[in-house]
């Protein structure tokens, strides 16, 4: 999806504004929204790619006008509504209006094991890697309306395979209930001039992590 979330190389956002002694959360609601989002992963049953798509798949003006945790909240509401866990009329009313579904709930004792375990994405590879370190590859021109993790600024550009990470869960299918469909994952390094033209810093390079089907030999 070519959404507003895909920001690499976009102009006009102004300077970076570091904040001295920044608090971990800037408001009490951010702390709650963070915890609610993490806690709802188990009863909700969605995966990280579904979560990302739910946050990103919105009108650019909506995406850009929301703060980070407002996007988390909006994504959470979308995921819950899609599964009939909590519906919009309930949020408007501020109380449950429909019967609860039977779900598995995260207990306090489950928190540490869940966080420690995380959700590793490496899987056994079904086929040998198509590319090796040093190979030249071109990022394909891919513009699906669905989830994708290949940023726009590298599409069509030629880079060099720098790292080979094994096979990893493919977000494009995983975000839409299409299963893990693991593919080889590579770090591809692009010269800044290849991405941004002759005026770019000749000493700088940018790399992205790209799945096999995002790439073709160059």
């Amino acid at each position: 999806m070519n959404g507003a979330h895909d920001m690499g190389g976009m102009d006009g956002f102004g300077p970076v504004m570091p904040e001295s002694d920044e608090p971990l959360f800037h408001a009490a609601w951010e702390r709650r929204a963070f915890a609610l989002t993490l806690a709802m992963g188990r009863p909700g049953g969605w995966n990280i790619d579904m979560s990302r798509f739910a946050r990103e798949n919105r009108a650019p003006i909506d995406y850009l006008s929301k703060s980070y945790y407002q996007l988390w909240l909006a994504g959470l509401e979308t995921l819950m509504a899609e599964r009939g866990l909590v519906t919009a009329d309930e949020i408007d009313a501020g109380r449950p209006l429909h019967p609860a579904k039977h779900v598995s709930v995260l207990s306090a004792a489950d928190v540490a094991p869940m966080l420690t375990r995380g959700a590793p994405t490496e899987r056994e590879a079904a086929v040998p890697a198509r590319f090796g370190v040093g190979d030249r590859v071109r990022a394909k021109e891919l513009h699906p309306r669905t989830h994708i993790r290949l940023p726009r600024y590298v599409r069509g550009r030629v880079g060099t395979i720098e790292l080979v990470h094994g096979a990893h869960v493919f977000p494009d299918s995983h975000a839409h209930g299409g299963g893990e469909q693991p593919q080889w994952l590579y770090t591809v390094a692009f010269e800044a001039r290849e991405l941004w033209g002759d005026d770019a810093d000749p000493t700088s390079r940018v790399s992205v992590d790209a799945w096999d089907s995002y790439l073709e030999p160059a």
Binding site: M7, G8, G9, M10, D11, F13, G14, M17, P18, E19, E22, L24, A27, W29, R32, F34, L36, L38, A39, M40, I48, S67, L73, L76, L85, V86, G94, R95, P96, V103, V105, S107, A108, D110, V111, A112, T116, R117, G118, P120, T121, R149, L150, P151, H168, V169, P171, L185, T187, A189, A192, L195, W196, D201, T203, S204, R205, V206, D209, W211
Partner: protein
């Protein structure tokens, strides 16, 4: 941005936050009443990230790499395993790659698509890391972004930006500061800032710590 615009924007945010605050409260009530969340689990999640997980973890990793050559080798070869040796594992750190700054190359990390960040070693990301200015610009003009953090590198230092578009998380090992030869590992960890492990800063010279 002009001052008055900044203030206007701030006020606007403020009124929206109140609306958001009410919405989050409503949601928490509904989720609790429906039995989908256990309030004790919410407290445990917040407690964990407020008190146990943060950049101090990453600083210990870097300090160990600076003082123990065998550990540094393990970290560069398989950062996930080397970091797990110190007990830092899990969510948003399932697959970590450590990249080392040298006089010839400076590394920086971003996620242009969302705000992926190595939680087990750095904690939750600061607002600027998640912001549109950082995400949009660091891949295109890394030196200008560094300058906004007060970091100016020699023109012949190559800059390498790592855009974490998959589940691989990157940890920058900053250069060990000059004058730190006599310090113990614990003291070295005090020199390692959060920003130096993202690549938007450098490790502190010992003189700035020991006043």
């Amino acid at each position: 941005m002009a001052d008055h615009e900044h203030h206007h924007h701030h006020d606007h945010d403020h009124s929206e936050l109140s609306e958001t605050e009410l919405r989050v409260r409503a949601l928490e009530t509904i989720l609790t009443e429906k039995g989908y969340v256990d309030p004790a689990a919410l407290d445990e999640l917040i407690e964990t990230y407020e008190t146990k997980v943060g950049p101090r973890n990453g600083a210990r990793v870097v300090a160990k790499a600076w003082s123990d050559p065998a550990y540094r080798e393990r970290l560069l070869h398989d950062a996930t395993a080397a970091i797990a040796e110190l007990g830092y594992t899990g969510r948003q750190g399932e697959h970590i790659v450590a990249v080392e700054n040298t006089p010839a190359t400076h590394n920086m990390v971003v996620c242009t698509l969302c705000s992926c960040y190595p939680w087990p070693v750095l904690g939750l990301p600061p607002v600027w890391y998640k912001s549109a200015p950082y995400r949009s610009r660091v891949v295109k003009e890394p030196r200008a972004v560094l300058a906004e953090f007060g970091v100016t590198l020699p023109q012949d230092t190559a800059i390498r930006v790592w855009d974490s578009t998959a589940e691989i998380r990157y940890l920058v090992i900053p250069m060990r500061p000059v004058g730190s030869d006599d310090l113990e590992e614990d003291q070295l960890a005090d020199l390692v800032t959060r920003d130096s492990m993202i690549g938007t800063g450098l490790a502190c010279p010992p003189a700035e710590i020991t006043e």
